[in-house]
Subunit: 193 residues, 2 copies
DNA sequence: GTCTATAAGCTGATAGAC
DNA sequence: GTCTATCAGCTTATAGAC
């Protein structure tokens, strides 16, 4: 299936370019140049730029599902699984300091563009929220599981924004340590939220 | 000074458009249409689009300084002053849910564009950080004042990203309540950070 | 200080040869 | 399935009349 290969390559490169340069600022010419095809050929695979965005979001949803399933399978208990999520901030720190969180920044950009795909992009955050809520439930958080999940997700989004604004790796590490310390108090965290 | 008036109007309208639609997606034509001048006239006041961005950032820095000075003058003690900052999230909730935080989203966009003004935009966050750190010092936080300031700033950035991604006002209110509850434990906050 | 007219280049998108 | 050639429209930016 040579067709699927080229198409998959376009989506993969577009994903990276949308992340590192933004959706609107990335042109067909940019993607075509990286993939190594002509602009004309492009339209054999995708009719509009929005179609590429849809494919990129679908790819990210699929990859997120795969990652969550992996953490679910490999993590030794819910606390360790939540740590897998938090430590993404460390594992991807170079890219996060340069470009922020791929999902958070895409949601922000699409919101400003008043783009119809904004809701679908937010679904990726929803996958993390639901998975994290499941882990907190397993920790005995009960009704507060979803609020705790949103809190961790929100905290990590804030860290990503700040780390990229200030390009400050020390801050990133100390906030991750803060999240981990907070997590050790769950399911009975102090005053929060 | 009729010149300054037109120039000031351009900066004011550009500020709003950059916030609500993004810097790159906003064209000279968009700004000119809102201000009510021709595109040609535009270049009498600003030579390049980057010049407008510089002016917008300078305006935001000035307005932030003014706001911080007001909170400083009117706030009844450091705890009340920090609450003034936190409650911006509530006061501006409609715009935050639609477009995120004006400063955080601008920093994120400029980072992706690899724009030279990114550092200047981050200075606005720096103003908040330094002011908050001063308040935490006044609360007796000592050496941890700056870390606590960054934590509040980061927390509020995360809330802004999540509130706009999910368009969820309930979440926004409950996180603000969480920040306030956490603040009441300072200068001796639990496990944190 | 504001306007119209215009330039050169990039944008997303199309048509049609191979 | 990939290419070249082309389109209309928009972009930032300039020149020059009033």
């Amino acid at each position: 299936m040579p067709e699927r290969s080229t198409r998959a390559m376009i989506v993969e490169k577009a994903d990276t370019l949308f992340y590192e340069g933004g959706f609107e600022a990335t042109s067909f010419a940019d993607i075509a140049a990286v993939v190594g095809i002509s602009r004309g050929n492009f339209y054999h695979h995708f009719k509009t730029k929005d179609d590429i965005l849809d494919a990129v979001i679908a790819r990210r949803i699929e990859q997120t599902r795969g990652m969550l399933a992996l953490w679910e399978a490999e993590g030794d208990g819910p606390r360790a699984r939540i740590l897998s999520f938090i430590r993404m901030l460390i594992a991807n720190r170079a890219k996060i300091m340069a470009f922020g969180c791929p999902v958070g920044t895409l949601c922000s950009e699409l919101a400003k563009l008043d783009h119809g795909a904004q809701g679908r992009a937010a679904e990726i955050l929803g996958l993390f929220r639901d998975w994290l809520a499941g882990q907190f439930r397993a920790l005995g958080a009960g009704d507060r599981a979803e609020a705790l999940a949103l809190h961790v997700l929100s905290w990590s989004q804030g860290v990503a924004v700040m780390a990229s604004a200030f390009r400050d790796e020390t801050f990133l590490h100390s906030e991750v340590a803060g999240i981990e310390a907070w997590l050790s108090t769950v399911p009975d965290p102090a005053p929060l939220t």
